[in-house]
């Protein structure tokens, strides 16, 4: 009974995390991206709490709190400040238009299902049904990085991918060892900051954050 509830809840929340990922593909405004990411991170925090509660793993609460501060409060704030500074609002036309992107997103979800299907049959964890969503989210993050032209959006895509990985970890293993988890967060933070620095530098040197213009180095 408990396991069933656990399973249902975790799958539901995982699905909502994925949903926000898909929303990211749909939206065009940069500000909306930040909002979407914020909501997604919130859902992820909830997922952590659910797993911590049902899985009897108090360590995950702490991680959840850390996650909340980092991804729901700190990073979005930094991103918003950046948007104010550089005064850009919209993503330029991506390499693949929104409609096709959404279709491809669907395909990726199916792909993730197909890929994780054999794995799910191997294990008995109650959270296993959420695994495809995690993998799909990773793919979507990758997809966003590949198809969006603004450095800013790529950073967001990367963050979404990170969310996917975190979701994979929490669903598949109820959290990896703490020391690793802490290291991952540190790296994430550092990585994000470095990327942010570079986005500023790109803005500074190229007077635009359109990465498709960074194509001088070839061959």
């Amino acid at each position: 009974m408990n396991d069933l509830l656990f399973s249902q809840l975790s799958t539901l929340v995982a699905a909502s995390v994925l949903l926000f990922g898909i929303l990211l593909v749909w939206r065009r405004s940069l500000l909306a991206y930040i909002k979407v990411f914020q909501w997604q991170s919130t859902m992820l925090t909830i997922l952590f709490a659910i797993v911590a509660y049902f899985g009897n793993d108090p360590k995950l609460y702490w991680i959840g709190v850390l996650l909340f501060f980092l991804k729901v409060i700190f990073i979005p704030r930094l991103l918003q400040r950046f948007l104010v500074q550089i005064d850009v609002e919209r993503e330029v036309a991506p390499y693949i238009n929104t409609a096709t992107s959404l279709v491809l997103t669907g395909v990726m979800v199916l792909l993730a299902q197909a890929m994780t299907n054999p794995l799910i049959r191997l294990i008995t964890l109650p959270t296993r049904n959420g695994l495809p969503f995690a993998v799909a989210l990773i793919f979507i993050g990758l997809f966003v990085i590949i198809t969006r032209k603004k450095a800013f959006t790529q950073v967001l895509g990367f963050l979404v991918m990170e969310n996917g990985i975190a979701m994979l970890a929490v669903l598949g293993t109820f959290g990896i060892p703490l020391i690793v988890e802490l290291g991952v967060f540190l790296d994430l933070l550092m990585g994000f900051l470095v990327m942010q620095v570079f986005v500023y530098q790109i803005q500074g040197t190229f007077e635009s954050i359109d990465v498709s213009k960074l194509n001088q180095l070839r061959y």
């Binding site: 360590k59 990367f158 598949g172 293993t173 060892p177 020391i179 190229f206």
Partner: protein, 496 residues
């Protein structure tokens, strides 16, 4: 207790050096010397580990028995780690010796220089950490950190090109390394599914012990993620695309670090994981994947080398080539592994050497376009000699070490009945060879462009470079017993 001291002797000097650089503001020469000396301490500690591994015949391990943190046996130095430690510390010492700051006054201002030293030392620390970490998760964390620190260093001169290169570098590598984390998580997930949750589950020693019971399906998937992830870091084609940009635009010492030490550690990570997967499901699967990527890398490198127009990018393609070769070696059983590790060692030495030489050329000519460098032989006779020697070493000519290791590698390939694969590889190597000789000749001869001074400067820098090429020759003609013992030990533990 001794072990802790030893580990801290290894890991703390770069951190200390970074701290010192941060604190000491004006006296740059002092910074240079202190960094060099501290890096020598690391080097000494690394040698100490080699002695421990070889002479004492045990595997130094250290960790904290604290619940929930996963710190059990977190540091572990077996033969493979010892080998990598030697690579990393040697190259880092060389890098710090040849970094700007030592020697003549140059035109770098203090602020970027300080930033440079801090990042460089942190990069070295991360590399050392990745090497000694028993926990594959920590290893991942350290490797991710290397991306971050090195990304700081690429736009040292803040040109458009360097910003572009660093963006590509950090984005591609972050994505790649994230995928490697997916692989790590998948394995852990496998482990947890089989053996239940454990704090030390991500310790390599534990993983490899548990490996026979792990589920092949998941491991197969995990290894793909790991291979792509760490392969991005190592620059296996087609994930190599950041290499030419990053190598081409980064300051010379960083190029040396990235192309040798960083690359070596990335390959080390792949090898660690390969060992785990092989123990679980046999080596055929990983071998096949590595062979595919290896030959693909060789092909991409070969044809890219033909058309390249910048000599630093040329070195990047050379790295892709050697990545491919080492991948092949990893996939060719015990003799292949031996050859690949020897090749890794040789390549580390040769490639970093090459970057320093190229740095001298770039300083003089002010461009890294092959077309702009003419008459090198007359302009800088010694440097051009070293450049020629280094390039010949890189394309696998005797009497340099790479000839030996490539030979051993191909021998392994032929003895394992992969003749066609080997023939294809040999053909691709021949193309690379011809392309490089062409570029080399283009640079060596002709008339020095106007405005380029003639004659050598900074001659003291030649001394370490000659030492470098000298060791390559020694490695070509003989194999010092410690290295032979170390390699044999690694081969017996990893490819048993």
């Amino acid at each position: 207790m001794m072990i802790v001291f030893h580990f801290s002797l290894l890991l703390s000097p770069p951190l200390l050096a970074a701290l010192l650089t941060y604190l000491v503001r004006d006296y740059r020469r002092w910074v240079g010397w202190s960094n060099t000396i501290l890096s020598l301490i690391s080097l000494g500690a690394a040698l100490g580990f080699v002695i421990r591994v070889l002479v004492d015949r045990h595997i130094p391990t250290w960790g904290l028995q604290l619940d929930g943190l996963g710190l059990q046996d977190i540091f572990r130095v077996d033969g493979l780690s010892a080998l990598l430690l030697i690579c990393v510390t040697t190259i880092s010492t060389l890098t710090l010796v040849l970094s700007p700051g030592l020697g003549k006054k140059d035109d770098f201002s203090d602020r970027p220089l300080r930033q440079y030293y801090i990042s460089m030392n942190l990069l070295i620390a991360a590399l050392l950490l990745a090497t000694v970490a028993n926990n594959v998760g920590v290893m991942w964390v350290a490797l991710e950190a290397t991306t971050i620190f090195s990304a700081f260093l690429i736009p040292f001169k803040l040109t458009k090109a360097s910003v572009e290169a660093s963006w590509k570098y950090i984005l591609i590598n972050s994505v790649g390394i994230a995928l490697a984390f997916v692989g790590t998580v998948l394995t852990y997930f496998d482990f947890v599914a089989i053996a239940g949750e454990a704090d030390n589950a991500l310790n390599w020693s534990v993983l490899i012990a548990t490996a026979p019971r792990l589920q092949p399906e998941i491991l197969k998937l995990a290894f793909v993620f790991l291979l792509i992830g760490y392969g991005t870091k190592a620059g296996i084609a087609p994930m190599h695309t950041w290499k030419p940009d990053a190598y081409g635009e980064s300051p010379t010492p960083l190029g040396a670090m990235m192309s040798s030490a960083l690359f070596a550690v990335a390959m080390y990570a792949i090898l660690r994981w390969k060992a785990v997967v092989d123990t679980a499901i046999g080596h055929h699967y990983t071998d096949t994947l590595l062979l595919i990527l290896g030959v693909f890398s060789l092909g991409v490198a070969a044809f890219s080398a033909v058309q390249t127009r910048h000599y630093k990018r040329m070195l990047a393609y050379s790295s892709v080539e050697h990545t491919g070769l080492i991948c092949l070696g990893f996939a060719l059983g015990a003799p292949g592994l031996f050859a690949a590790l020897l090749h890794l060692l040789n390549h580390t030495l040769a490639k970093s050497f090459m970057f320093f030489v190229v740095g001298r050329i770039e300083d003089r000519y002010g461009s890294n376009a092959i077309d702009r460098v003419r008459g090198l032989g007359k302009t800088m006779p010694w440097t051009s000699g070293l450049f020629t020697a280094g390039l010949l070493a890189l394309i696998g000519l005797p009497p340099f070490g790479l000839f030996t290791s490539e030979f051993a590698l191909f021998r392994a390939g032929f003895s394992l009945h992969h003749p066609w694969l080997m023939v294809v590889s040999l053909t691709l190597l021949a193309i690379i060879f011809v392309a490089f000789i062409n570029h080399l000749n283009h640079m060596l001869y002709g008339l020095t462009p106007a405005g380029v001074a003639i004659g050598e400067t900074g001659n003291w820098q030649l001394v370490p470079l000659f030492l470098c090429i000298g060791s390559l020759v020694i490695l070509g003609l003989t194999l010092p017993t410690p290295i032979a013992l170390l390699l044999n030990q690694i081969v017996t533990t990893i490819a048993s």
